[in-house]
């Protein structure tokens, strides 16, 4: 079965550079969530999209932005990168939110290292 695809799997950037992370949800999933997991930390919710509209916002820095496109894939854009942005970034997708019979599936993550 198709899973959530994230690219790239690994990314190394220098301070003050920009990075774009991509997430391709499971087919027919209309909701995408982004999480940031620092070293040894729990995943922190950043932002989510439902039907291409921002649905909920968590602890996403102003330097980050994201969007969901017409084909439901999502991109997380990160500018003015800082050392503290080094983390594993997860994308998850679900069909119409977490409710009743919905399950969210996580991708393998993109490991971003800022040097």
């Amino acid at each position: 079965a198709a899973g959530v695809i994230q690219s790239p799997r690994h990314l190394i950037k220098e301070k003050r550079e920009t990075a774009t992370l991509k997430c391709y949800p499971i087919p027919r999933h209309d909701t995408v969530y982004w999480y940031q997991q620092g070293p040894g930390q729990d995943p922190q919710f950043l932002i989510s999209f439902y039907e291409k509209m921002q649905s909920d916002k968590g602890s996403i820095p102003d330097r980050f932005s994201a969007q969901q496109f017409s084909d439901y894939h999502s991109e997380l854009n990160m500018s003015s990168l800082e050392l503290g942005d080094s983390a594993l970034y997860f994308c998850a997708s679900s069909r119409s939110g977490w409710g009743s019979n919905t399950e969210a599936f996580f991708g393998q993550g993109t490991r971003l290292t800022v040097v």
């Binding site: 729990d42 995943p43 919710f45 989510s48 998850a92 977490w98 009743s100």
Partner: protein, 115 residues
């Protein structure tokens, strides 16, 4: 506001012994509860979830959890662990209002299986 407390950051257990990973939550509304497992350098995999109905939930890999509303707990149990169960386990809570709200994760419990 929601929060999740995983009381143990590490739990060492001998192989074939039973294990319980503790999780307590707080929320001002009804909740959905989840347990995820994360193997080294991997994404998050759903073990089980509680949405409604029976308070005893069975998941994959022989795990089960019991929702206790009065104690606001959702402890994860397995009667006999295997070396392959060594991983990080995250308890998470979601707003039962559904939609695309992000999950709130606990800090995680590292399950260490000793031979």
């Amino acid at each position: 506001a929601q929060s999740v407390t995983q009381l143990d950051s590490q739990v060492p257990v001998f192989e074939e012994a039973p294990v319980e990973l503790r999780c307590n939550y707080s929320s001002s509304v009804s909740v959905y509860l989840f347990w995820y497992v994360q193997y080294p350098n991997q994404g998050l995999q759903l073990l089980l979830k509680y949405l409604s109905g029976s308070t005893l939930v069975k998941g994959i890999n022989g795990f089960e959890a019991e929702f206790n509303k009065s104690q606001t707990s959702f402890h994860l149990r397995k009667p006999s662990v295997h070396i392959s169960d060594t991983a990080e386990y995250f308890c998470a809570v979601g707003d039962s209002g559904g939609g695309a709200d992000g999950l709130t994760f606990g800090k995680g419990t590292h399950l260490i299986i000793q031979p």
